[in-house]
Subunit: 144 residues, 2 copies
């Protein structure tokens, strides 16, 4: 399976992964990179580069990397975008808990990083919905 890096400023990445692990069970597939609010983009870039490099050293790079970031156009997104290579290193913005939980499902192991990115973009968008009294709510974070 592709490696998953959740990259945010502050403690958001850790909270998202902690939540996903609590809901879907512990998984070693989810990694976090926390950028300090006041650090320079150069330092942030080094942190992301180091996290990507770790996977290469571990021989895990063959499966590609999916990087989940918080705001479109924010520092984590902009830094991650510098490492983007379609089909190898994919970057998504707007990460929420539903997206991270989805990545814990066993079926994700079968998907390429490009497939994962497209699928997660769609599922993430679907997870943002307004409650309509009487309407059915999709509550199953399984693959699909």
């Amino acid at each position: 399976m592709a490696r998953i890096l959740v990259v945010t400023q502050g403690g958001l990445a850790q909270e998202l992964v902690r939540g996903a692990h609590t809901i879907a069970g512990q998984s070693d597939r989810l990694e976090t990179v926390s950028l300090a609010w006041d650090e320079s983009p150069v330092i942030s870039e080094r942190k992301v580069a180091a996290a990507l490099e770790e996977g290469i050293q571990d021989g895990e790079a063959d499966q590609g990397v999916l990087i989940l970031t918080d705001l479109p156009g924010g520092t984590p997104f902009n830094v991650a975008a510098k490492f983007a290579r379609p089909g190898r290193v994919e970057v998504l913005s707007g990460v929420n808990l539903a997206m991270v939980v989805r990545l814990c499902c066993p079926g994700c192991r079968e998907r390429s990083v490009g497939e994962l990115a497209a699928w997660l973009e769609e599922k993430g968008r679907q997870s943002i919905c307004r409650y309509q009294p009487g309407a059915p709510v999709e509550s199953d974070p399984a693959c699909g």
Copy 2:
């Protein structure tokens, strides 16, 4: 302006609001309710009821309340849905940082809670996007 309650399990709500305040400046409009992972839905319901009640006691209830929750079908969403009243208490799932930041913009004060919910659902979905090399990235979290 409508009151905003960010309701999640664990520390996610606090991290989201902390991030939004760091990016968009301190605001007293964003309130958080943190539900414990192991508490019963009855206790969770009491916490949300108490947070809603606080606003009523403060005389703020006239503007309505927008409740942002993490997973569709998760405990925070299900508990919040019990208090939903279209146009008065609106509930959204899939909260991410982009949505919370959006709520800090001054233009939000003019919107009814129903308008806010519909607008934020759309903006939240737009914030989840896959980086495409060379494509423009929406980076302005202003109203619109």
